[in-house]
Symmetry: D2
Subunit: 348 residues, 4 copies
């Protein structure tokens, strides 16, 4: 099978770099364009020295890319700047497949978007066209999509744990508490004081409590599963590790037992290559998925009656971003869904 020709927009960020890491070894992909407007003219080895062993195209400004040569583009640009660039790319080459790893096309409701992102959406038709790229729930739509809005890292972890339970009406969707913990790469490569080693190391900080932009995305999809609008608690914490995300979700049971929850999850993911439900008594931990596209989910009984705890973990840069984008690309090109994605977690 000939290789698909790939461009990566925003290759100087962490999600862009993880897309490079995976695509450079993908059996059916060839990276032929890399953009990073503030680093145009540099080699990737200048901005990410761990790519010293790869021959990669130089970084260019996105405006310089010849879109007609590309089969697919991965977009790791900041939220807000993405929508207009993707509109331009699709105008230049309407057949190109777009894997957007930003938040720009994840929310279906234009008002919700405007409320959380502070401005009207600037590519409304594309917002309508975009498919939410949580592979396990939207596989069919993704397969035939042109533009896939890959979910945020937290939503992927939370939704894989909760959607099957909401769908099966095993839990009360009006009483979902998601205590979320993320490694520091989740904050990106931009320079911020709170992500300096000396600030984030050896300590633990809750942040954006009640205001994190992944909350409406989670509510949107649990709402779809439940058939009604929901409001959730979503409380993120910054953890002194580079990669990894773990959601501890506290749920109220609706006539179900914790074992029923586990069974429902096992059934939902019985044929999924990347989502594993842990046996009773086994607790997921981020170490188990670091650097991999795998997700691990476990269910534990709560000491409070009629409550349970659902724990889910993934690598925020892989299944939480670049890996899931590649999984979707595989579907869109009719490739084996797992192609290029079967790396085992790097532990220790």
């Amino acid at each position: 099978m000939s290789s698909k020709k790939i461009g990566i927009l925003g290759a100087s960020g962490y999600t862009g770099a993880d897309a490079v890491r995976l695509l450079a070894r993908h059996p059916n992909a060839e990276i032929i364009a890399l953009t990073a407007n503030t680093h145009a003219g540099k080699s990737m080895g200048d901005v990410f020295p761990h790519f010293f062993m790869l021959g990669l195209p130089k970084l260019v400004e996105w405006e310089k890319v010849d879109w007609s040569r590309l089969d697919a583009v991965f977009c790791g640009l900041p939220h807000g700047t993405t929508q207009e660039i993707i509109a331009a790319v699709l105008k230049a080459n309407p057949k190109i497949k777009v894997l957007d790893m930003s938040a720009d096309f994840r929310l279906r409701d234009k008002n919700t978007y405007a409320q959380w992102y502070g401005h009207e959406h600037r590519a409304l038709e594309l917002q309508g066209e975009a498919v939410y790229g949580l592979t396990e729930f939207y596989r069919d739509k993704i397969t035939s999509a042109r533009l896939v809005a890959c979910p945020g890292c937290y939503p992927t972890a939370a939704l894989l744990a909760l959607v099957p339970l909401a769908k099966a009406k095993l839990i009360d969707v009006d009483d979902i508490i998601i205590d979320a913990k993320s490694g520091v790469t989740g904050a990106g490569r931009g320079l911020k004081q709170n992500t300096l080693f000396s600030e984030a190391g050896e300590g633990l900080s809750p942040y954006s409590v009640g205001t994190h932009r992944h909350a409406p995305e989670i509510e949107q999809e649990i709402g779809v599963a439940a058939g009604s609008a929901v409001t959730i608690n979503f409380t993120p914490h910054l953890i002194p590790m580079a990669r990894g995300e773990l959601c501890t979700s506290y749920v109220k049971l609706k006539g179900a037992t914790p074992d029923d929850l586990r069974t429902a999850l096992e059934q939902a993911y019985a044929n999924e290559p990347f989502v594993h439900v842990a046996s009773k008594g086994v607790l997921p931990q981020t170490q188990n998925v670091r650097g991999s596209n795998y997700v691990q989910i476990g269910v534990v009984a709560d000491r409070i009656k009629n409550r349970a705890i659902v724990i889910s973990t993934l690598d925020n840069l892989v299944k939480g971003s670049a890996g899931q984008a590649i999984q979707n690309m595989n579907l869109m090109f009719g490739l084996p869904e797992t192609a290029g994605l079967e790396q085992i977690a790097l532990f220790p």
Copy 2:
């Protein structure tokens, strides 16, 4: 004022060592005995090289200590072995003050003790005599006590956040979810695979979910505050940092607002030297208290109606153990409560 003569049992563990760190610079204390049965004969510098600048007594077996020379003893021995040793110490010197940092005397109910620790209590009269050493709630009893059972690190963090709210009936005590995060020193200095650097680093693990022995201690004290038995959710996570503990408590409001909760906490701790309630909008983080005896508590509104989030943080080895023990000792000897304890957090 003449110095109080102090012995530390179990000086080769982390709580023992932090007691040494603080007491060696305490203006009214003199360390004259250190025990560690498996290291008897060694100097403290052999087992904790960061004490190279101190002249300290050699480690001896606890049976070798002349209790009549001591005014107070700090006990950092493992759970279970403590009760008989303390009984022997008090028999040898009934006037000695005992600051127990183990779990042996924390639970008042002998059945609860037996259920959670797997054996009958072996010093029942002392269990009855012991005062629960959460300074802010039991100051009067501590002042006149002979044996103080210093609380666990998690209970101190959780109870300081929740007891004033339970007492004031602002929250539903049957729906308390405590998502707890601890640094690795919480697991002690014993050799365990999961606390190796290569295992605990760069990752995050829930552990003892539903089975952690600090749960009954929290329930006991919230029950006292509420006037009825309660069952709570307590879900601990191991975080890749050495020190620090943060509890994110999710509570259901009983006709109160999040601001009411903050006000109640501010009133409860208005005159407390070590407990600070953060202003609205300020989120506690473990970095703020590392190495110090301070506690920081914050309140945030939940997006779910009638719910709030209470966040509390402390250093598990200081206010969560040795520091609080010294705070209690100061009370017991009529010393200024803050003596030797005003170190500011070490950040970064």
Copy 3:
């Protein structure tokens, strides 16, 4: 090409686990036996939960393995216990290929072995037969070998930097100072106080200065290159990271310039798939090779006249252990040398 049938002895240690990680995805390998005598009967998921996604054989005692079914065995057992077990394996199946990752067969001189390991070697004929498995220097011998003694992690890093320079007589081999830094996995998975997270984290410790067992291995091979016995300085430091090793080697020049050193290294490794010489001005760092089989080497001029600094880095569990063993296995079976080993470093 049919898959080679592989057994891994000592699969519950870190080098064993990294061999599993890589071999489970190797295109020409099938893991059919895993041993760990203290964990016999368990699944690999019990001892390394990050393998949850793999179907692997259960752990058994090494005595239970049917060696006739195996094409190759990787040995990750502790030093000292290995020699007799390998002798037994080769007696049971003389055609099996042995990739030993322990130190047992690395030293060619029996007296040096006895001096550094404290006992006579217990399989002297095999010691004579074993080929030192530093692929880049012994490729031909490895290709036809039955028993390969894969080098230690430090020796691989140091020798790749220094051997070409010693061979070309560009440096004074009697004045080599190797300041070595290693991540904590280098100390293995055994329970030791100094490798606990709370001890090794947030700090830096020199260790085994002047007494580390990798010194004679480095001296042996530099001696071969120089044609005379040498004594080196080798000073290891424990660094708070899990993986990675970096050697900063200080050398005295013999009529050469730092650029001459770089040129000599570039020539030596021009056709090597895994060894890269950094351009002038680029400094190697462990982050560039984490989780990968790559090695990066750089040369910097010293401010002291006639001196230079050679910096080399690798992942101690990959090119420093399991990865190099697989690279050697590929040679021994006539497979492409890079098969299963082209993962890019996991950064961040």
Copy 4:
């Protein structure tokens, strides 16, 4: 004794903050002015939340300070901006004591300064007046000084290890190799990509090899000790820890033994409160001094004949900066030299 009134310039940086941490608990000091021009108007709790328990003056612009009210000023401003500000301060209040923690007055030779800092010195008379603030070597001069140029963190660690040996002519000063390792706070609080948690964590990077500005400072002082100009090797490495510095110095012996070196150091520091020479066989580690003003030095025999290894460690923000400045302030005011500085290392 009445408290000395203190101002801290550059209080929003790490050295400024550590001066606050220590001075806020100093028995003879009162902080009455804090400056940080980019944060003027904020409280210290806004820029360093771990000071929540302190009542501190608001941050102001340095131009707003009334210098006549101050007895001493600590200066934690960036290199280059300091010289003119200090000139202005001393003009406004010629009796004020200045503890400069920047590099501006450390080099005595104006040409060396211009060469390494890229511009002519802008306060040459003050450069002449300034006393190099390595307390142990310049105690008398410091006692009567008005302006003390506190040494860099690396020079303090290196010089305490090497100066007594150079003075006693026990080592060859033309063959000194200093392999230096620093925690990330050494790079300051400014936003740089290489000090982000995700970049600096879990990895190790040499940096500024041959070009670090602490090299001429070390050469200046070894030159003074040796009585002749010297050129040294100084090779810094960035280590994934916040605090701590360790220098592994490789020296050639001049007719001396390693034990002679240790003896010389023991004699040099016999009466020093903060410098400890480790017993034979004991290796210094940064964990032993974290957060403290102590220095630990050890000597080990090299395997290469006539060579030795001298290892020294300190906390870069304490004895490497703010702590040493306070030690000097104590001398300048006739206070006990150890006042406010006897905190024991925070371990773990």
